[in-house]
């Protein structure tokens, strides 16, 4: 792919043989059919023509294609479609603040093109490792934090179809054969994302959310319990060695435990107390961290989950009491589809923490 250019300022078009992609974007199927089109689109960042690769990342997924050119993706070490870091799968802003990288990629017109052109030549010459080479001491602390923020499993939900805008307005005439999702979009800050912002690592709502979350929040103690009705603690850092018994043995001293739910997949556990006092006491004593089986666990309050159907129906607390659950279980089989309740089973309700037993 390296061409000998007589004039360093001469613009030659990008040709590449394989895209730079993360595993999630490629999908779960190891067999892929991909189309390649040279100079099919302009890069969303540097607006130069580049080779577009298009493939289907799995059954029922939308076809994904490369959005930015290889040069731009090498500059920031990101996947060409999702613009997340290739190593961690995290937004550029998160990675840069953690590792202290201050990348000076220019953003304005000619500057941008000049920079891209130079990077192009640079990569053609070096052609080996992407991203930073050796890691200094400051970086390894950052890398630790990034490792904690990483996802454990590939998040294929981002390969789903886009939301049908006609459905949102209420008039999708395609009906059953509509290939777009017929769901209402989740509102909030995350709706307004901008590709340029995500790429340059400025003003990224996802990054902001990640960095203010409990895991990355540094040593700052969580503020005293907010919603008075929450009686559960949220433990993170759970590994396979830690069993429910261990948690029970530690937390029973603070008060009667209603239930313990361990979710190994996301390395977390919920400890639900019967009384609010017990939960507060537990947080007071153990809030700064628990050490079980040699593993340091972080303790925080169970967050009041986003409002679900149950909360909407009852209009009461976020977490239903056992009595409510028993009532729901005893009122016979789930209602037929098409009835008012969105969830047929209590366990489908996102606000319900723990199990139904």
């Amino acid at each position: 792919m390296s061409q000998i250019k007589a004039d360093p300022n001469k613009v030659s078009w990008e040709e590449s043989e394989f895209p730079i992609l993360c595993e999630t974007c490629l999908g779960d199927n190891p067999y892929l059919r991909m189309t390649k089109q040279s100079q099919a689109k302009e890069c969303k960042v540097c607006t130069r023509p580049f080779t577009v690769f298009r493939w289907c990342p799995g059954v029922g997924m939308r076809f994904k294609k490369t959005e930015v050119c290889q040069t731009c993706s090498k500059v920031k070490n990101v996947c060409q479609t999702c613009l997340l870091d290739l190593e961690f799968g995290l937004p550029v802003q998160v990675r840069d603040t953690a590792l202290g990288l201050a990348d000076e990629a220019p953003r304005s017109d000619v500057n941008k093109e000049y920079f891209a052109q130079n990077m192009d030549a640079h990569f053609q010459n070096t052609e080996n490792g992407l991203g930073s080479g050796g890691f200094g001491k400051a970086e390894s602390a950052g890398r630790e934090m990034l490792k904690k923020l990483q996802r454990t499993e590939p998040y294929y939900k981002r390969n789903r179809q886009h939301i049908c805008s006609f459905f949102v307005k209420g008039n999708c005439t395609r009906g059953a054969e509509c290939p777009y999702r017929h769901e209402m979009p989740a509102g909030g800050e995350l709706n307004h994302q901008n590709l340029k912002d995500r790429y340059y690592g400025t003003n990224d709502p996802v990054a902001r959310k990640m960095m203010s979350g409990p895991r990355a929040g540094g040593g700052k103690q969580m503020s005293p319990p907010e919603d008075q009705t929450i009686t559960s603690l949220f433990i993170t850092g759970i590994t396979e060695d830690i069993k429910e018994q261990d948690l029970r043995g530690f937390f029973y001293a603070f008060g009667e435990i209603k239930s313990i739910v361990v979710v190994l997949k996301s390395k977390c556990a919920f400890v639900n107390f019967t009384t609010r006092m017990a939960a507060e006491l537990a947080f007071e004593k153990a809030g700064s961290g628990v050490n079980l089986q040699g593993v340091a666990l972080r303790v925080s309050w169970g967050k009041s989950r986003p409002v679900g159907a149950r909360a909407e129906q009852k209009g009461v607390e976020a977490a239903p009491t056992p009595a409510a659950v028993m009532h729901a279980l005893e009122t016979g089989p789930p209602p037929p589809p098409g009835s008012k309740s969105k969830f047929a089973y209590p366990s489908q309700d996102p606000t319900y923490q723990g199990s139904t037993r």
Binding site: R33, T35, V59, G60, T173, A176, E177
Partner: protein
């Protein structure tokens, strides 16, 4: 070739007069489909009725000759020549596995990215739980021989009760 009759054109073979009303109706429907406004339809969707009628018309002739044996070979060949039915499409229907092919575009591998046939050729049981598919070429919802497509592409037709 024009379907106009004058004193110079050859007479149609016998038996043509019985099927003529049906053919005239197809012709009329085709004209309507051609003149339909494109409002409210996708770009590809505007062409679907054309393909559907073409399929139906050819199907009618095919069934008359091959299945019901209601017309003579002479009349059949006359119909093909005059453009009342598509000989190429009928040739496909004679092959095993292609009895219900919707249109010739959907079996053309050169039209696809990976050299395959259209999605409507996939048997229904393999395409499980996937929702309703309307292929982009002709709006077909499944024309493999095992998917119960019937003799028309897409939803049920208003078949004439002639013959």
């Amino acid at each position: 070739m024009p379907k106009i009759r004058s004193s110079r054109t050859k007479r149609a073979p016998e038996g043509f007069d019985e099927i003529e009303p049906t053919l005239k109706e197809f012709q009329q429907k085709m004209k309507d489909a051609e003149n339909d406004p494109h409002e409210g339809k996708r770009k590809v969707e505007a062409l679907w009725p054309i393909f559907r009628l073409h399929h139906q018309r050819s199907r009618y002739v095919y069934e008359l000759f091959y299945k019901r044996k209601a017309i003579s070979k002479e009349l059949y060949e006359y119909l093909l020549k005059q453009g009342y039915a598509d000989g190429n499409l009928i040739a496909k229907w004679k092959k095993a596995g292609y009895e219900k092919v919707c249109c010739l575009r959907c079996i053309q591998p050169k039209d696809t990215n990976f050299g395959t046939t259209c999605v409507c050729r996939v048997p229904r049981h393999t395409l499980e739980e996937g929702k309703v598919i309307e292929c982009i070429h002709c709006g077909c919802r499944g024309c493999s021989s095992g998917s119960g497509a019937g003799s028309s592409s897409g939803a049920s037709t208003s078949k004439d009760n002639d013959n």
